[in-house]
């Protein structure tokens, strides 16, 4: 049977048209069958977190007769994915990324690209730890108003971890309550430990450092370290309305003192030289390999990792202590980052996504999820925070006393805590993203600038960012 080229073209055209109409028709049928809520969730550090969230998603599917399309992505990739999705207007209905509070929410609420969540917040308000709530109260530059554009769920705070066995080895007091908390005594303690260990066994400890202080532009830990030190020296960067006050004499003086202090610490040889290149995981890695005696870290990731790898280390060989008292006296104030769920405005099922968020945050369900993180996060809800887990930690699961989680709980509940200022202005998100304080540290540590010059450059940069913001 002859088959001419014209026949072939006709057949192809007909098949193409059929396929096209089939493709266009398919989603309509699918949409009619079941509503789907698309969730992008930050992959947890432990499988228990992800498993708990998958279980919640399955329960939600059954309870609401809907489909939950949930995917887990590591935080660095998820940040890029969310930014690209919002720009391209092909978004999920709900996104939870550990970077939302710092970089995504202030920026995209300003641009009116996030759904308002005031209704959800108002319902949950009686349960909230109010200190954490303002993180989501951001400005919409299109609607010209401040409102809630996210749902805060869990927080992280600054802790100092140290190796008890290293202190013990050189006869220094290793119990957390015996670590001196006065500013100078505190930092000198770790320097003394380095000197003593190097002297005792140069072959083993010749490259060990006392203080694992991240001072780089690559690590967000640097921002915590700087802002903690700034609070200790009594400085502020923004006023309550989000205006830059870093250049006011009192604040400038505190900034200079903080930068000079970081420079002294680094240049005196008690901080690993590569700490100015560290990313967020590097102080963890150095701590785990015992090449540093102590390290400040804004989550409990270090002890949590040891809990799984070596319960003996977790319970007996390491401990967590407070940031020292302010140089001028008084207990330290703590910077807190509160991790937040977002609902992009272009989401197809925003109402369903809000239902999902409410469902996740029901006390028992959320407690199960957050405990899966093994104490890495602290709940933003007072009822969940009352769970005995946060008071006792892992006690009884390999040792009688947990020296980590209960201390963190004490910091959240008993110390003065302050959420990061990105909620006041999205320009401050850029200040964080540029890590201008890490840059100032590099100026003193690498370029050998005096602290006041480095501070002035950073303050001017901050003012420029705020002036240019639109």
């Amino acid at each position: 049977m002859a088959h001419t080229r014209r026949d072939f073209l006709k057949t192809t055209a007909a098949a193409g048209a059929g396929a096209l109409s089939g493709t266009l028709g398919f989603p309509m049928v699918s949409r009619a069958q079941a509503r789907t809520v698309v969730i992008w969730w930050n992959r947890g550090y432990y499988k228990e977190e992800d498993e708990a969230m998958i279980k919640i998603a399955q329960e939600f599917e059954k309870a609401k007769n809907v489909k939950v399309d949930i995917s887990f992505t590591i935080q660095e990739d998820l940040l890029k994915k969310i930014i690209a999705a919002i720009q391209a207007r092909r978004v999920p209905d709900c996104a939870f990324c550990f970077y939302n509070d710092w970089e995504v929410m202030p920026n995209y609420a300003w641009q009116d690209k996030l759904a308002e969540t005031t209704d959800v917040i108002n319902e949950l308000k009686p349960r909230y730890n109010e200190k954490f709530l303002q993180v989501a109260y951001v400005y919409n530059n299109v609607a010209k108003k401040r409102a809630y554009y996210g749902v805060p769920i869990e927080a992280q705070i600054m802790h100092i971890h140290y190796w008890r066995d290293l202190l013990k080895e050189v006869g220094m007091a290793d119990e957390p309550e015996k670590i001196p908390l006065k500013w100078n005594d505190y930092w000198d303690y770790w320097k003394k430990a380095q000197d003593a260990l190097r002297k005792k066994d140069p072959a083993k400890y010749g490259k060990l450092y006392g203080i694992g202080m991240t001072e780089s532009t690559r690590g967000s830990d640097t921002i915590y370290n700087f802002e903690m030190a700034l609070l200790s020296f009594g400085g502020q960067l923004l006023d309550p309305d989000g205006k830059v006050i870093a250049d006011q004499p009192k604040n400038r003086e505190a900034i200079v003192k903080a930068i000079a202090w970081f420079a002294e610490l680094y240049n005196s040889g008690y901080v690993p030289p590569d700490a100015i290149n560290w990313s967020d995981g590097d102080n963890n890695a150095n701590f785990h390999s015992k090449s540093i005696v102590m390290t400040p870290n804004p989550s409990l990731s270090i002890p949590a990792a040891q809990f799984f790898q070596s319960p003996d280390n977790y319970f007996n060989k390491m401990a967590t202590v407070e940031w020292p008292d302010n140089p001028g006296g008084g207990k330290a104030s703590y910077m807190v980052a509160v991790k937040t769920i977002l609902l992009p405005k272009d989401g197809k099922n925003t109402d369903l996504a809000k239902e999902f968020v409410r469902f996740v945050l029901e006390p028992n369900r959320f407690a199960e999820y957050i405990k899966g993180a093994n104490g890495r996060w602290f709940p933003a809800f007072t009822d969940v925070a009352k769970d005995p887990f946060f008071a006792k930690g892992q006690a009884g699961k390999g040792g009688p006393v947990d020296y980590h989680i209960p201390l963190a709980t004490k910091l959240y509940l008993e110390r003065n805590v302050k959420v990061f200022d990105h909620w006041k202005s999205p320009a401050n998100s850029q200040v964080y993203a540029e890590n201008i304080w890490g840059k100032a540290m590099a100026r003193t540590n690498v370029d050998k600038w005096p602290a006041d010059k480095a501070a002035d450059e950073a303050i001017n940069r901050m003012k420029t960012i705020f002036t240019q913001w639109r």
Binding site: E103, V104, N107, T217, P273, D274
Partner: protein, 298 residues
């Protein structure tokens, strides 16, 4: 039998040729153009989607004065431009000059040189990631082998990646180590294309190795050398991987090149327009290189 097959092929070929010419002749020019467009449609659609649209998007983002006000007021941008010029200028030129010289050594056809050539090509064959991780390990201030050697020799340890120019130096050395073999092979091929008669003629005139290089080899290779330089500059100008993996812009964002800075703006700060702006400022230079390159090739 063989003839029959050949005859068969000839018959089929003639038949096909005739049918095509008949088909083409049967269509009027408009219909023929229509078919041409129809069959080109997939390529046109792909071209529009993946070349024209991204360029259009970049252009719309790039023509915003605000972007450039922001970029030029950022001290890191200015520092980055300097870094890029230093990186591309020194790394590419040193690498190609060395490649030109080494290609002369590798041209010698002895067993030892053949063995050396195989070893010499290894860096090119090693994937970038393990290569860079090895270098980072070697340059670690605390545990790196370089400092171990320095200390054993009594020089004390050096903070290789903790100062701007040391880190850029390390980057340049890595670039040369990694890509030197590739360009050496290119020049080797170029050298093999030079007629031997020319060297025989200079030998009769009593020319030595240096004179051979000056009056025969280099004049014959200079077109290739220029093309290689331009190509390598275009590649290196857009180099993201090496810089990001080796320094990540550290210390203090002082070792960024344009590609890593654009990434930082776009993905770490969520400022796509600034990222596009960074590339837009490099575009005139890239286009100039490409223009010269195309002229040279023609």
């Amino acid at each position: 039998m063989a003839n029959a097959v050949a005859r068969g092929r000839g018959f089929n070929g003639r038949l096909l040729g005739r049918s095509l010419s008949t088909a083409a002749g049967a269509l009027n020019p408009t219909a023929r153009n229509l078919y041409g467009y129809l069959f080109s449609l997939p390529l046109i659609v792909l071209f529009l989607a993946f070349v024209v649209y991204p360029l259009y998007f970049e252009a719309t983002q790039a023509f915003d004065r605000y972007t450039y006000e922001v970029l030029f007021s950022d001290p890191i941008y200015v520092q980055t431009v300097v870094n890029t010029i230093v990186y591309v200028g020194i790394a590419v030129n040193t690498k190609l000059f060395l490649a030109l010289l080494l290609s002369g050594v590798l041209q010698a056809d002895t067993r030892g040189v053949r063995f050396l050539s195989a070893i010499f090509l290894l860096p090119w064959a090693i994937p970038v990631l393990p290569g860079i991780l090895s270098i980072r390990w070697m340059l670690s201030s605390q545990w790196g082998i370089m400092n171990l050697i320095m200390e054993d020799l009594g020089f004390g340890s050096v903070h290789w990646l903790a100062s701007r120019w040391m880190a850029i130096g390390a980057l340049i050395v890595f670039h040369i180590w990694k890509y030197l073999p590739f360009w050496t092979v290119i020049f080797l091929a170029g050298r093999r294309g030079i007629p031997r008669e020319l060297y025989e003629a200079t030998a009769i005139d009593g020319a030595g190795g240096l004179q051979n290089f000056r009056y025969v080899t280099f004049p014959m290779l200079k077109g290739l050398y220029l093309i290689c330089t331009l190509l390598s500059m275009v590649f290196t100008l857009g180099d993201f991987t090496n810089v990001w993996l080796l320094t990540g812009g550290a210390p203090g964002d002082s070792t960024h090149v344009l590609a890593t800075l654009a990434y930082r703006y776009t993905f770490l700060m969520g400022k796509i327009d600034w990222g596009v702006g960074v590339f837009a400022t490099a575009l005139p230079v890239t286009l100039l290189f490409i223009f010269i390159l195309i002229k040279k090739i023609k």
